[in-house]
């Protein structure tokens, strides 16, 4: 682009001011043009464009990544194998937040920009209930047969017509081994003077209250409102008495590392990573009374095009291949829902193949429970009670 320079007769300062103005205007024009193009592109993005792509919104740090942190080996292999371009984004940070973000468009039937999303069980249930998902064409996902039998018929999707587990998450007790040398076997082991004011529980209601309910001998697959509120009162009491310092999400990891927290109701995968990085300073166990298990689920939003849906099914099928599932599990350290992945893991990392965190044994599995599906009314009153206990 030719740019008219200010006349030489001007002082250097004046010239620089003038030329900076010109370039600024040019920049603005450029921005305007770029914005116009983007707007046009987004108007015109129809089915033809989606033919060769699949757009996946996932949680952060939830897929194997190379050391530079720039590419995802299993996803790259998928692209090469099937000739489908995968647009992978870590756009899910929180179930509620994500729901708030896409709900409006789903309601209006406008493209939300993803062909696959991976919300947690209860939120997946909400998506399915509201008709925001599409039924799988099971012929495109033959590997679905590898789904662990325990996960085959959850209450929110009994036939797995709309959802398949991506990873499962166990919740139980985690602790600092120096402060708690004997370990924690039950909720009551938390209340020792050394842990006073240094306990953190998960902000995920179903996990925290679930673990408490189980310790009270309540079956969380059929929990009643009275039983639930009773557990919330118990939590409230422990907060008021200064035992519990926080109700938090993933941030509890930093507090454990810094020593501000010494015992937690937490997710197994996190404690596994922490323990690895800090030479056994931390440990995790499912309490004797039982722990919770939940899953994040592949869903195809109602707004995905036919091509997008087919590509999404191809991708889901790919991640249900035991060898691929093992590769992902070796990185994310969560419970893999794919049968046969353990044998495949033997080839990658024999130590991980024996990990209770990734491949819980039958015995551990029998102590894990899934929180029951809540009705919309229960969901709001129960969440409100839990949030109130957390000070909100």
């Amino acid at each position: 682009m030719a740019k008219a320079l200010p006349p030489k007769s001007l002082s250097p300062e004046a010239r620089s001011i003038l030329s900076s103005q010109i370039s600024r205007r040019a920049v603005f024009a450029g921005v305007g043009a770029a914005a116009g193009v983007t707007a046009l592109a987004s108007c015109g993005s129809g089915s033809s464009d989606a033919a060769s792509t699949v757009r996946w919104a996932n949680w952060t740090l939830y897929l194997d990544v190379d050391e530079a942190g720039t590419s995802y080996p299993t996803l790259q292999a998928f692209e090469e194998q099937f000739g489908i371009t995968a647009v992978y984004t870590e756009d899910i940070n929180d179930n509620d937040e994500f729901f708030g973000k896409v709900q409006g468009q789903l309601k209006l039937g406008e493209d939300i920009g993803y062909d696959i999303i991976t919300p947690t069980d209860w939120m997946a249930g909400r998506f399915i209930r509201l008709g925001y998902t599409q039924k799988f064409d099971k012929a495109n996902i033959p590997n679905a047969k590898n789904l662990l039998p325990t996960l085959a018929s959850p209450s929110f999707d009994p036939n797995r017509d709309n959802s398949l587990t991506y990873q499962s998450i166990m919740a139980g007790l985690g602790w600092n081994t120096t402060v708690n040398p004997k370990g924690l076997k039950a909720i009551d082991d938390l209340w020792t003077p050394a842990n006073k004011g240094k306990i953190i529980v998960l902000s995920e209601m179903r996990d925290t209250i679930g673990v408490i309910l189980l310790s009270q001998g309540v079956d969380i697959t059929t929990v009643t409102e009275d039983q639930f509120m009773n557990a919330v009162d118990f939590l409230q009491g422990k907060i008021n008495d200064g035992w519990i310092r926080g109700v938090k999400g993933n941030e509890y990891k930093e507090d454990l590392i810094s020593g501000d927290a010494t015992a937690v109701i937490a997710w197994a995968g996190d404690l596994f990573q922490l323990s690895n990085e800090n030479e056994g300073k931390f440990d995790f166990a499912i309490p004797e009374s039982g722990g919770t298990i939940s899953g994040d689920n592949f869903l195809i939003p109602s707004t995905a095009t036919a091509e997008g849906k087919k590509n999404a099914e191809t991708l889901i099928n790919y991640y249900y291949d035991p060898a691929i599932a093992a590769e992902v599990a070796a990185y994310v350290n969560y419970v893999t829902p794919v049968m046969g992945a353990q044998e495949e893991m033997e080839k990658i990392d024999p130590v991980l193949a024996k990990s209770e965190y990734i491949f819980p044994t039958e015995k551990t599995m029998s102590r894990l429970n899934v929180f029951k599906a809540l009705t919309p009314t229960e969901e709001s009153t129960w969440t409100e009670a839990f949030q109130k206990a957390a000070g909100n």
Partner: protein, 287 residues
Amino acid sequence: MVKTGISRPGTPYLLLLPGVAFLFTFFLWPIANLAQTSTQTPIAGGDTGEYEQSLRWQNYIDAFLENKEQFGRSFLYAAIATLAALAIAYPLAYAIAFKAGKMKNVLLVLVVAPFFTSFLLRTIAWKQILGEQGFVVPVLRDLHIISPATTLTSSAFAVVAGMTYNFLPFMTLPIYASIDRIDPRTLEASGDLYANGITTFRKVTLPLSMPGVVAGTLLTFIPAAGDYVNAAILGSPQTKMIGNVIESRFFKVVDYPTAAALSFTLMAAILILVTVYIRKAGTEELV
């Protein structure tokens, strides 16, 4: 006479247009929406987050009564943080304006420097400063100021300290601007009239710097009362503020009407407090 564009009668309105359009789109329109949401009720048999308009003004009373505690805490913490910021900022601004000499600009840059990093990062940094691995806790424990079992994070102290720090520049800069404008001859005149240092400060410097103090306290108190980041990162369940409740109602409970009613109540409460304050302080101080 050459007719210039400025003399056209429509020009001032034309110049106002961008500002008005901006305020309409990003302030009036959302506020109207919020007002509309605040009186809604859940649709019978509807799903999570589905509400309909039924002009239920009781929402406001319920929302306030259920969260009195957090409202009270918000104003208390904001007031303490404002006073603490004032106590730190006034001497600082005074020193920069009168005593810094050549260092004036450097010091001003240092006051603003924290703004170069993100608000969140600054708050998280406080978590480390006050944490078990920081230097504050061991020192205080060695001096027997706090007991070995006491932690400083997840406490009201941490929340107020975080707010004081985060809003300090908002207090310092207006006070500095006011003090810097004081004509040194007024101070000399005060001395000539046999006023000692303290009297000069009380009778001359302080009154002349009041516009800065009023502006600074407002700029600190208003955002501090609505803040939720400090309480979320540095606090515990017992130190939650009204901003935390609004966030949780909006995103977690998906109770939009209560969240909206709380936001309006907070706005109204701040507006009333600020009006009373400005009346007391005298509006001319702000000009």
